[in-house]
Amino acid sequence: MLYSISIELADYAGGKPLNLLKYNSLNDVVGKSLKLTVELRKAVDIPEKLAHEVQCRYQWLDEETTEFSTAIVESKSGPVNRAPQFSYKSEHVIEVDDDLISKMIENTLRIGVYGKVEQKRRLGNGEKLHMIGDEVDFAGDVSSISKASKVM
């Protein structure tokens, strides 16, 4: 996955950016506003079978663990695109405090990459998997399902 994470500090949300070089770590800027810009550009080597539609999702660090997601990248026609480009950019503003610093030291930002199988394998409503064998002709033979053969 190709990505960028940019950092911007300010005295308050929306305030004038501070010079990052003046600080060693977030411990020096407790109480200030941190703006993280998450950019997800492109995923590579996506398995072909799941590359028909691809989307990335992650949960932010806020208490509600709000979920963010990229746009869905579809391979509409031609060969399947195994390197979908998301061109996703999102800014997250959060106040720096000790809890946030602890959380950041111990955690990762986990970005899930999800895919869908080929459209034709699903029914038209897009919600149900296509079931191979739908055309099976039972030829009226139901005799083998007898009360005696109950498996439960």
Binding site: M1, L2, Y3, S4, I5, S6, I7, L9, L20, Y23, N24, S25, L26, N27, L34, A43, V44, K49, L50, V54, Q55, Q59, L61, K103, M104, I105, E106, N107, T108, L109, R110, I111, G112, V113, Y114, G115, K116, V117, R121, G126, E127, K128, L129, H130, M131, I132, G133, D134, V136, F138, G140, V142, S144, I145, S146, K147, S149, K150, V151, M152
Partner: protein, 151 residues
């Protein structure tokens, strides 16, 4: 580990039973298998849980749905109910034939359709300690790691 063992001990016989019922109900393409799914959380902890993989076509391993344990229980009882309905004393052959051929509700009853149809390819992990040290990451590349730890 004990919890995994207990869940497996509970789910495996039910999966075996549900596979047999599917054969009886002329759904011999459907296949249920136990599976241990391991999630790596954002703090690095690994959480394993027992789920059931459902294949609408046992010969196509690419298309499957994952049923969480509780959802599998619902499916198990729904399939059992369907079987009992079809093998009741008051069911005539015509009704039985019609019901066997009717697959409209199969995705729901047999748990073949997932809520979204999205399947997890893998996760990319960004270590936030870089942010704590005010280190920006520009145009970097990180691997996408699947559930088995394969890049």
């Amino acid at each position: 580990m004990r919890e995994i063992d207990a869940k497996l001990a509970e789910i495996v016989p039910k999966i075996s039973e549900i596979n047999n019922v599917c054969l009886e109900l002329r759904r011999d393409g459907y296949s249920y298998e136990p599976y241990i799914k391991t999630d790596v959380l954002s703090d690095g902890r690994k959480v394993s849980k027992v789920v059931c993989k459902v294949f609408p076509d046992r010969n196509n391993r690419d298309v499957f749905n994952i049923l969480e344990f509780d959802r599998f229980e619902d499916v198990y009882f729904a399939v059992k109910d369907k079987y009992e309905q079809l093998t009741g004393d008051d069911v005539d052959e015509a009704t039985l034939l019609r019901d066997l051929q009717n697959r409209e509700n199969d995705p729901e009853i047999f748990g073949l359709s997932s809520d979204t149809d999205w399947q997890l390819i893998g996760y990319m992990y960004y270590f936030l300690v870089s942010v704590v040290n005010l280190v920006e990451t520009k145009n970097d590349e990180s691997p996408i790691i699947d559930e088995k730890g394969v890049i």
